[in-house]
């Protein structure tokens, strides 16, 4: 589990950016999607997620807005910015290269 955390640290930004690329989501939504799509292997709790969101927002890669929908409480929605999408493209390609290289060395098969 500790090893996973190490890897998770490095890829967290990539995860979040990709989830808010297509449409704006709020924090809980992002956490839940990561949890579901990884079948529980990766999960972010509140204390870990929001700092990341704020950091990405500071960097200008995502932007957050308070949105008030009918019959709902005010919620904060995050969406990737133009700069963010650019970073996402770069990180995706870097990730793919990285994974491929590691697999070649350790001799893993593609799933």
């Amino acid at each position: 589990m500790k090893k996973l955390n190490e890897l998770k640290k490095g890829s967290a930004e990539l995860l979040i950016l990709s989830l808010v690329e297509a449409r704006a989501r709020h924090g809980y939504e992002v956490a839940k999607m990561i949890d579901q799509r990884s079948a529980g292997e990766l999960s972010f709790n509140a204390a870990s997620l929001y700092p990341l969101l704020y950091r990405l927002e500071d960097r200008g890669w995502i932007e957050g807005r308070w949105v008030e929908k009918a019959n709902q409480r005010r919620r904060r929605y995050y969406r990737a910015t133009v700069a963010g999408r650019k970073v996402l493209r770069e990180q995706r390609s870097a990730w793919k290269t990285f994974v491929a290289s590691v697999n070649r060395i350790i001799g893993a098969d593609y799933a």
């Binding site: 809980y28 204390a47 870990s48 500071d58 200008g60 957050g64």
Partner: protein, 933 residues
């Protein structure tokens, strides 16, 4: 649905976020937790389990390692807070800083936070507080002495108008020669002063109580107490309108005398006492706290005040203008007259008197009258020592501050991560700075309080170390001024050494700091550099103190071991005094002829006492190194102006030497060898030609290439007869321990007579009972004579060194403190360096280096620092010691032995202090060290 907000708020509380921002964050997180909770419930979890799961989510994970400051999201500017080298100055305007600082509610928060942080590192807090306590305690102690002595005004109304009047004759090289009675009257009438009163210190025999006693008295003009502005506690003081001749038969007594000899009798007024056989009526009693303004211990302990207008029996009816028999005078300036104005008006008065009385004021003497503020006269002679002490103690305080700054810096480096987090969460720089400053302020305040406590506990011990002749000794106390000074000092110190870590905190690269967890790389290089500099400074300062202490110690040692030239062992001195009645006709001992039989009888009886092997007598000047006599301005005694037979008399440069009167046995009793000629003998009596024995210094000064035996000189007083030199004795340090070559004249007591007498007894004498036994003997000869002042000669010699001893002890104490602090300082820095380089040491050990080389590595680091500091200290020490040269004896200011000893001491301490961290460095487990990378 549980309310998550309080829990969230609690966790965010210590980050001191902007309230609006905090509310938004809380809101967002609360919503997240709400959803999580709901989802868990939907899945079927119990409420309690769901609650716990959600709360666990708040605490788990690398929370604090990831939070970043969320700034200006509405404004949209994306500036990272620490990527620009924003320091305190640019990051926050002064107004912002001030606003932050003055926010009381958050200040209390800061305080609590700071105190909690200190509680978590008790070791650090203890060392820091102890260091500050030592520095503050020492400084406050010395400051209280300086305050009492130099700063506080004299305890009289309008003390700034009190002056001392001094007459100089610069043409003859003489200063403070005293004034004459007509001059006093001129001054009184000059309009410059409200009142002028000559003061004349004397001793008298007080008789009438169960036994005769010798009392210090002050003879003053009737306006004296009005001049000072002091009221008695009982009765009245003298009548300023009384211009009658002679000694007015009224006295005012001190509270001490009243309690001792009259048992605080309220009906003491109009009782009479006899002083030197004359009757005086008590008219008043001074209050208990009356600090008689005196230049030395004797003058401050006046027991009886008598008044006169300085003419009439026993003084001349018409005192001549050129007879300067009034040694000191105090005055009060008229309201509105400044010191400068008074001096210039005085100069004009002097000029006109010189013109009016040319015979009494010859041109060559250059007669001048000066007004000096009274306080300066009273404390002037200790100013130098006190300033020396103040300088030394300031050094100690500096070293203590440097030490604490070092400690704080080390601590700041450990807390880098925490500081970075708080900055990331939105703690503004002013707030951060203030929090750090609050912490160091609370440290320094606690240290200050500890220092005061330390001072209170050791107060009595310290006071005992102070030499008795320190003026205004009983004014030394810890009062509000002192406490205020201590408080100001500690606040200032807290500010100063709180700035360093605060500065470093603001220079943090937060990104780096968070990533690396505990250690900040960018700041650490600079920080280590600063800490090294601080240690070098500490060592330099300590070196200066250690050198000063060694020089003083060597001086003292040399003085102690100086060849005295006489043998003080087993010698006791006791004093007595023949009275000077106002009417000379009733004087029992008016001339040497009447005094000699008394002296002989005393010698005979002294010899009969058991244990006594030898007896001699002399006047009080003949007591070697008796400091109490030296300081008294008793007129006439002890100083001898003379001219030599066959040489032209130069009236403007009279020759001058110290002299005393002794019986023939004196020299042998003290073991002073005869070099030429002979001692006094029985043929020298008051009818035979006057003879003298001189010391070698006198012979070499005044008869450099001649045989002094047979030469003659005489006093410059009119109608003196020639005195012939019959013997030369070896030089001895009887006038001053530091000087062996003081020219001295000894005359035969039987020829000159004297009234202030000292009896010397050599033998196995019980000092406890000797006074009583001698008193018995003297009483049976004359029961009106006081017998007092029994002291061994060893004690007298030791007492002459008391002021030096005090300075030396204090500086030595400071030097030791400085050494301790320097050791702590270098220990701290080397420990820090070792902990920083643990990884490197692990690596070396893993690669095969032996532990010894690690030890040597660390020690080298430490020694490098120590050597640099010590060398700087030597340079500074050379400068400082030159300033000290005047108090040194027998050692050069650049004495290599003292410097070498100091350097070795300091380096030795450095090595010892570095051993522990060095040893720890060798115990590093290479595996652990490497893994922690």
């Amino acid at each position: 649905m549980p309310d998550w907000r309080p829990e969230i708020a609690r966790r965010l509380a210590s980050f001191h976020l902007d309230p609006n921002h905090e509310a938004a964050v809380i809101s967002e997180l609360a919503q997240h937790l709400d959803q999580h909770y709901l989802d868990l419930l939907i899945k079927g979890t119990t409420e309690q389990a769901a609650y716990q799961a959600v709360m666990a989510g708040l605490d788990k994970g690398e929370v604090l390692g990831e939070l970043r400051r969320h700034i200006e999201r509405r404004q949209g500017s994306r500036r990272l807070p620490s990527s620009s080298p924003s320091s305190i100055a640019s990051g926050a305007t002064f107004a912002q800083l001030a606003a932050e600082f003055l926010n009381l509610e958050t200040f209390v928060q800061d305080l609590r936070y700071g105190l909690r942080a200190l509680r978590q590192s008790p070791g650090f807090a203890a060392i820091a507080i102890l260091t500050i306590a030592l520095g503050m305690g020492a400084t406050t102690a010395i400051f209280s002495v300086v305050d009492a002595t130099l700063l506080r005004p004299l305890p009289f109304p309008h003390p700034e108008r009190l002056v001392s009047i001094e007459d100089d004759l610069p043409g003859t090289g003489a200063q403070d020669v005293g004034m004459s009675q007509p001059e006093w009257e001129d001054l009184q009438q000059s309009g410059i002063f409200e009142n002028v009163s000559p003061t004349w210190f004397d001793e008298n025999n007080l008789t009438g109580a169960d036994r005769p006693a010798r009392v210090p008295i002050l003879i003053v003009a009737p306006n004296y107490f009005v001049l000072l502005g002091v009221k008695p506690q009982l009765g009245r003081t003298f009548n300023p309108q009384d211009h009658s001749p002679g000694l007015i038969p009224e006295v005012v007594i001190s509270d001490g005398l009243w309690k001792r000899d009259f048992g605080s009798d309220p009906h003491v007024l109009d009782k009479s006492i006899r002083m030197d056989t004359d009757l005086y009526r008590i008219v008043g009693v001074m209050p208990p706290r009356f600090d008689a303004p005196g230049r030395n211990g004797e003058e401050r302990n006046i027991e009886i005040w008598a008044s006169t207008n300085f003419y009439g029996l026993p003084m001349p009816d018409h005192p001549p203008r050129n007879r300067r028999n009034l040694p000191t005078a105090v005055a009060r300036l008229k309201d509105g007259v400044t010191l400068e104005e008074a001096q210039s008006r005085l100069d004009a008065l002097v000029a006109s008197l010189e013109r009016a009385f040319p015979a009494d004021y010859p041109q060559q003497s250059g007669w001048r009258v000066r007004v000096v503020p009274l306080k300066q006269v009273l404390v002037g002679n200790v100013r130098q020592s006190l300033i020396l002490l103040l300088a030394a103690v300031t050094l100690v305080l500096l070293i203590a501050c440097v030490n604490v700054a070092n400690l704080l810096l080390a601590r700041a480096s450990i807390r880098t991560r925490e500081i970075a987090i708080r900055q990331a969460l939105g703690a503004g720089q002013p707030r951060l700075v203030r929090q750090l400053l609050t912490e160091s302020l609370s440290l320094s305040v606690m240290g200050g309080i500890a220092g005061m406590a330390l001072l209170f506990c050791t107060k009595n011990l310290l006071l005992r170390m102070v030499p008795e002749n320190l003026p205004r000794l009983n004014a030394i106390s810890i009062n509000w001024t002192i406490l205020g000074f201590a408080a100001a000092c500690s606040l200032l110190a807290g500010m100063i050494f709180g700035l360093a870590p605060a500065r470093h905190a603001s220079r943090l690269d937060v990104n780096q700091a968070l990533k690396l967890g505990g250690r900040s790389v960018t700041a650490s290089g600079e920080q280590a550099h600063t800490r090294r500099l601080l240690v070098i400074t500490e060592f330099a300062l300590s070196m200066v103190l250690v050198i000063s202490a060694s020089l003083l110690l060597r001086s003292f040692w040399k003085l102690l071991n100086a060849q005295l030239g006489f043998n003080p062992e087993n010698v006791v001195t006791v004093r007595t005094r023949l009275p000077y009645p106002n009417d000379p006709k009733i004087d029992k001992y008016p001339t040497p002829a009447q005094q000699s039989p008394f002296i002989r009888e005393l010698l005979r009886r002294g010899q009969t006492l058991s244990g006594v092997q030898a007896v001699a007598m002399g006047d009080t000047e003949s007591i070697p190194l008796d400091e109490s006599q030296r300081e008294l301005n008793i007129i006439v005694e002890g100083q001898f102006f003379f001219s030599i037979e066959g040489r032209d008399v130069q009236s403007d440069h009279p020759l001058f030497a110290e002299y005393s009167r002794v019986t023939p046995e004196y020299f042998q009793l003290l073991g002073i060898p005869l070099l030429r000629g002979r001692f006094f003998n029985d043929s020298d009596n008051d009818k035979a030609p006057q003879v003298a024995v001189v010391n070698e210094a006198f012979a070499q000064t005044y008869f450099p290439n001649q045989n002094p035996i047979g030469q003659a000189f005489k006093s410059t007083k009119p109608n003196s007869s020639w005195i012939r030199v019959v013997g030369v004795i070896a030089n001895a340090r009887t006038a001053s321990l530091a000087q062996a070559n003081v020219p001295l004249i000894y005359r035969d007591l039987y020829q000159t007579g004297a009234k202030h007498l000292a009896i010397f007894l050599r033998g196995k004498i019980d000092t406890g009972t000797i006074l009583e036994r001698l008193r018995e003997q003297i009483e049976s000869v004359d029961s009106t004579l006081p017998v007092f002042g029994a002291q061994t000669l060893q004690q007298t010699v030791a007492a002459s060194l008391s002021e030096r001893r005090f300075s030396m002890r204090m500086v030595a104490l400071f030097a030791l403190t400085a050494l301790l602090l320097a050791a702590l300082g270098i220990y701290g820095v080397i420990s820090y360096i070792v902990s920083e380089r643990t990884h490197e040491f692990g690596l070396r050990l893993a690669l095969g280096a032996d532990r010894e080389s690690i030890l040597r590595l660390v020690l080298r680091e430490g020694l490098a620092l120590a050597l640099t500091g010590t060398s700087l200290g030597i340079a500074a020490g050379l400068l400082v010691s030159r300033a000290m040269a005047s108090v040194l004896y027998g050692v050069k200011a650049s004495d290599p032995l003292a410097f070498a000893a100091g350097a070795l001491c300091l380096l030795g301490i450095a090595v010892i202090a570095c051993l522990v961290p060095a040893w720890r460095a060798t115990r590093v487990d290479p595996m652990l060290a490497l893994r922690d990378a």
